[in-house]
Symmetry: C2
Subunit: 362 residues, 2 copies
């Protein structure tokens, strides 16, 4: 870490790799001799076209997106996609949602606006305060649903699907906002994966969507053109001006990921970081982890001290240590360390040291 920079445990937007920030800073006034900042470029220019084309190609390469999937960059974040999904994919008015946290619940709510009660809660662990995701046995799936929607990593509760639910012929759709690019995934198991960019990919401002070709084309008449999977895939995500700068930074992140060894390497690093934190949590009894072991997130680690007052004291002390954003989300309380790709191992080491110190002192 450069001098003055801190360990930022934010759930998103969150840390970006320092080499990426340095590159962006260096190119800011004049990108590759173009005489312009990327922020100033016409999205229809050759110089920008190469950036967004590279970004899509690099994302395809890193994730191993099959050829029969389109990759789109859309505006409105994952919450925008919540609305776009039923518009594009639920022509029969039926879709199943598994609710394993706030965002999967939010996705269901947005779908209900479009298809009413045809958007169905097909399983939830709300009664367990979302300490894990539902098991296959706990699901009640409709074989006629247009799709089954899950949130793959639950940022707020610190859980993650350790298995893909069996959905028969119904396409599985996964919101991967807070785990995308953290480890290799098999895209072909999903009809759609999507997510907001602001955790592991880029600064806030867009969502990526990878959608299987056969699911595109049967959209509702009300679908805004900027969210039409069909139109945006025909126009290479350029039906209107895309968020040009965040997409450029995304490409810088992807090029950096390729340089360091792609998602196999990233997974190795993320396993090491999360193991350091979980192993410590499992070795003591001052802090209580929120998530059940089987469904623990590799990106968001949730826990609490013995009481709310100590949680507050923990946060206050962490700021003095030069950490930030360790407070848990208001809906679950306690503490949360988001340790996305760009969080260095040293950041987690420093956090565990502080946790030990704090526990010893109380």
């Amino acid at each position: 870490m450069s001098e003055g920079r801190i360990f930022n445990f934010s759930a998103g937007p969150s840390m970006l790799p320092e080499p990426v920030l340095k590159r962006v800073q260096g190119e800011l006034m004049n990108y590759e001799g173009s005489g312009m900042s990327v922020m100033e470029m016409s999205h229809r220019s050759k110089v920008y076209d190469k950036i967004i084309t590279d970004c899509e190609a690099n994302l395809r390469k890193i994730l191993g997106v099959p050829d029969n999937y389109k990759v789109l960059f859309l505006q409105g974040g994952a919450s925008g996609v919540f609305a776009a999904l039923p518009m594009n994919l639920a022509a029969n008015g039926k879709a199943d949602y598994i609710v394993s946290g706030n965002f999967s619940g939010g996705a269901l709510k947005e779908a209900k606006k479009i298809i009413g009660d045809g958007a169905r809660e097909a399983g939830t662990t709300k009664d367990l305060n979302f300490t894990r995701v539902p098991t296959q046995d706990e699901l009640d799936l409709d074989p006629e649903a247009s799709y089954v929607h899950i949130c793959y990593n639950n940022t707020i509760y610190g859980t993650k699907w350790h298995y893909d639910p069996e959905t028969g012929n119904v396409p599985l759709i996964a919101d991967m906002s807070s785990c995308i690019l953290s480890e290799p995934i098999d895209v072909s198991r999903y009809g759609v994966i999507y997510g907001g960019a602001q955790k592991n990919m880029a600064p806030a401002g867009f969502a990526f969507v990878a959608v299987r070709d056969d699911l595109i084309g049967d959209e509702m008449g009300i679908t805004p053109k900027i969210w039409s999977f069909k139109t945006q895939s025909e126009k290479a995500s350029m039906i209107n001006t895309p968020p040009t700068f965040p997409i450029y930074v995304c490409n810088c992140v992807l090029e950096y990921l390729l340089e360091i060894g792609g998602l196999e390497e990233m997974k190795k690093r993320n396993v090491a970081k999360s193991a350091l934190l979980y192993d410590y949590l499992d070795s003591q009894d001052f802090y209580t982890p929120h998530a059940e072991k089987i469904d623990r997130s590799m990106m968001n680690v949730t826990f609490r001290t013995p009481n709310d007052e100590l949680d507050k004291e923990f946060v206050a002390g962490s700021v003095e240590k030069g950490f930030t954003n360790l407070k848990g989300h208001r809906s679950v309380g306690g503490l949360r360390a988001s340790i996305y790709n760009a969080m260095p191992y040293e950041g987690v080491e420093a956090l565990v040291d502080y946790m030990k110190e704090f526990a010893a002192a109380h």
Copy 2:
């Protein structure tokens, strides 16, 4: 202009003031001692909250937005707002659209998806190839419409409304994407003004909306939460993660505008720049302006040489001179010089010199 930087006549995204770019570059790795890039900040953090709050306050101040208007920052660009307008404001299923160019036509098309033929073309100059906007006499307004929509500056054709159409009690809505912040406006004459940020405000990635309080609240059930004027005004444009970095750059632009004297000063500069170009066009007969004098845009100057071949030659020669993006939009052809706020006077001088040279040589 710093060494290596060029005069970029792009219709958008387009030039940003150099002092803004330098500031952004300087603050990129560590914003005001926060230890973070703005790109890395939680949108819920105090440090970012000040940025977005300042941005709204500065925009209100510069535009003189009355207290009974909400100012929102929304994702999806102006094209997103095209869909959001009928959802939020046309509960009675009726809205009038005056079509004076591509984007006003696009707004009508998006509205038709939501309210069908209740979205009505209430006047157009299509037959004139959009060389001016309609006169009041050419309008056919429905007194029961929820609103009348205009595009205030037509980027592609280089025209601008030189008057506000009389709409009686029906609120007037103006898309100001390509002229916002170019001169003072009286916001109170409009029910809503809005626009994409990527011309005079900021890098691409969001739209601003200023909406009168009494128009908020009667939205359709299908309205996605990220486009709900009601919800977004209650949540200070934070219903989900906003495009944090483009909004930060917007605030830098606004602070710069305040430093140089606000919109009175900006208008003076823009009048001088556009007069230089139009006066030259009116003094010769090699180039033919596209727009009629009465409705000429101060931001986008459209013209053509005697034929298409010469237009192409003009563009090729302009690139050698270190200019870029002078080709007209495909739907009108010819040439276009977009001379937004950040284009220096020297840029227009250099362009006129080149135009004289080119005319003399042909």
